[in-house]
Symmetry: C2
């Protein structure tokens, strides 16, 4: 049965810095009749990711910001429940930019892919088989270019991208060192994600701990934080090191560029490379990454960790949760449609 | 006739920041008898380059610092006047790390190459056919990867490396914008080195001038300065821009890393690359660059500019001259042996 009402999370105030629950509101609206060429998706999982901060900030970024009053931009995964679109049929599992809402009427363009891994949870298409895993795969392989024996340091190592980078680097024969906050996440890095070492950036001995964990220096640094954490890592890079700028979670506001140590001389002396990574540059190679990641998941070489929040009411505060570092693994909002 | 005495410039005090004449002393010593496997070079030209600051600083760099009491490390070009070495004969023109001295007794290892371009001035082997030209060639082609239509910005554009980068970028079909200090050098960039535009970083309107000169943004930035000049350029980079860290002339002291705007977020948003360049990584490809550069010199597509200082007495103060930006083109010390 086609539902009549849709609940969605809209932006009501533009955040400066980290988006909070108060910047959003949940509104209800009717689901319009499908036109020819449209389909209706019942969203089952909504994604929460650090990049959302950038999608909300008014300043120039890699994408236009979400407008006030619009449904929050987001990846979501769900099932097609009605279709007047030639490429999609009822029952298809899909993921794409379907927004923080219970249902999405779409012309198909926002859909990234049909989720064909029927043996794996649909939610994985938002995490390890979605933007996070694909980011980890291309950032590490294309910019990092890991070689067996390299020392790879990863920040936010217990997070969705970081934990995947660490595991992929281990698969590539590297020594992996995770940086994370607190003993619990350290444990998670070592025991669940198989890092060779895990360092707590909140510890007073962070610098010496990192030095002890990287006795041969750092060949690849996958950076999800920027700021102080990166400053400590960057001083330890080897000749021809690769620094992947993938996220800037530890710096709350980039509207005015914050100050930090100048790295030009250091990059020069080390003939090192620092490069920004945008997943959008690899859209045409998405299936290549998903195929490999799914194979490693099935063989058990790769493990995915999720933290599930129940209900759309949880979505507005979820970005802040992420930036407080409270989640373990990929943060996802599950929508329960069973009562409908 | 084999000379008896050698004059050489030795380091007597370790500089902090820019090396001055007072950090050096000229001493005279006897020229020892040649052993088997050695040769004697009469230096005719001594090189002066920004990298010498790094060779003198005590802090970790890409090479061990020159020791107190040692002859100043330097490229020099000259003629073999006696040889007990199987690979070198009297009359050979050579260039290499022969030091700031009138004569060099060597086992051949410091010699970079025999200078075979008999139709071109020997001094060119220290500039456009030496470290400067080869640096420009590999930095631009390997890190910059210029494509026709790209906008290439070069700092210290009237200098030995910068002027070569600009010309090589023009040959590659790029729009070239030189940054330099003062109207005279601006003129030089436009009229002699053929830049499409030249901008004076000392001008109060530097930022708006650069914006006007790069209406389509910046695809490649060859940076010889770091600091404020770079901060202005980096804000104008395009998606997938390449920033070549080749020199840091505008920052006097790197012993404590100076502060500047953090660029992680900017590199990320632009999926841009920033990479340090060390010529030593390309030693095995030296002749490839020299061959191409010599061909462009002969065809007139490439022009080399030199400023010659007369006599070894000029060497100690020459690095400071360079950092004051007073030279036009490659700074060289000529040694006159005609009276001997």
């Amino acid at each position: 049965m086609i539902p009549q009402r849709n609940r969605r999370v809209i932006l009501i105030q533009r955040p400066v810095g980290i988006p909070q629950a108060s910047h959003f509101e949940i509104v209800e609206s009717p689901i319009p009749e499908l036109h020819s060429g449209q389909l209706l998706v019942r969203n089952e999982f909504l994604s929460v990711e650090p990049a959302m901060r950038g999608w909300l900030n008014a300043t120039a970024n890699y994408a236009d910001p979400v407008a006030i009053g619009d449904t929050m931009r987001s990846f979501a995964a769900g099932t097609v429940i009605a279709s007047k679109h030639p490429l999609y049929a009822e029952g298809d599992r899909v993921m794409g930019m379907l927004g923080w809402q219970e249902y999405a009427v779409t012309d198909g363009k926002p859909i990234r892919r049909k989720v064909l891994e029927a043996d794996l949870p649909l939610s994985y298409s938002l995490g390890i088989l979605g933007i996070n895993g694909v980011t980890a795969y291309f950032a590490l392989t294309e910019i990092g270019q890991p070689r067996p024996g390299d020392t790879v340091v990863v920040s936010t190592a217990a997070g969705a991208v970081g934990s995947a980078v660490g595991q992929l680097a281990r698969i590539a024969g590297c020594r992996t060192v995770g940086i994370t906050g607190g003993a619990t996440k350290q444990q998670l890095c070592l025991e669940k994600f198989g890092f060779d070492a895990a360092v707590d950036y909140k510890s007073a001995s962070f610098e010496t701990d990192l030095a002890a964990a990287t006795p041969n220096g750092v060949d690849i640094y996958h950076d999800n934080t920027a700021g102080y954490i990166s400053d400590v890592v960057v001083r330890r890079i080897n000749k021809r090191a690769r620094i992947i700028c993938c996220g800037t979670a530890s710096v709350a506001n980039w509207d005015d560029w914050p100050s930090g140590p100048r790295i030009e001389r250091h990059l020069l002396n080390k003939a090192a490379r620092m490069e920004g990574f945008l997943i959008w540059d690899y859209e045409h190679r998405y299936e290549e990454a998903v195929t490999r990641l799914a194979a490693w998941l099935r063989s058990g070489q790769l493990i995915h960790s999720e933290e599930i929040l129940e209900g759309i009411e949880q979505a507005p505060g979820a970005i802040a949760t992420l930036y407080r570092g409270e989640n373990r693994g990929k943060l996802i909002v599950r929508l329960d449609h069973s009562a409908e």
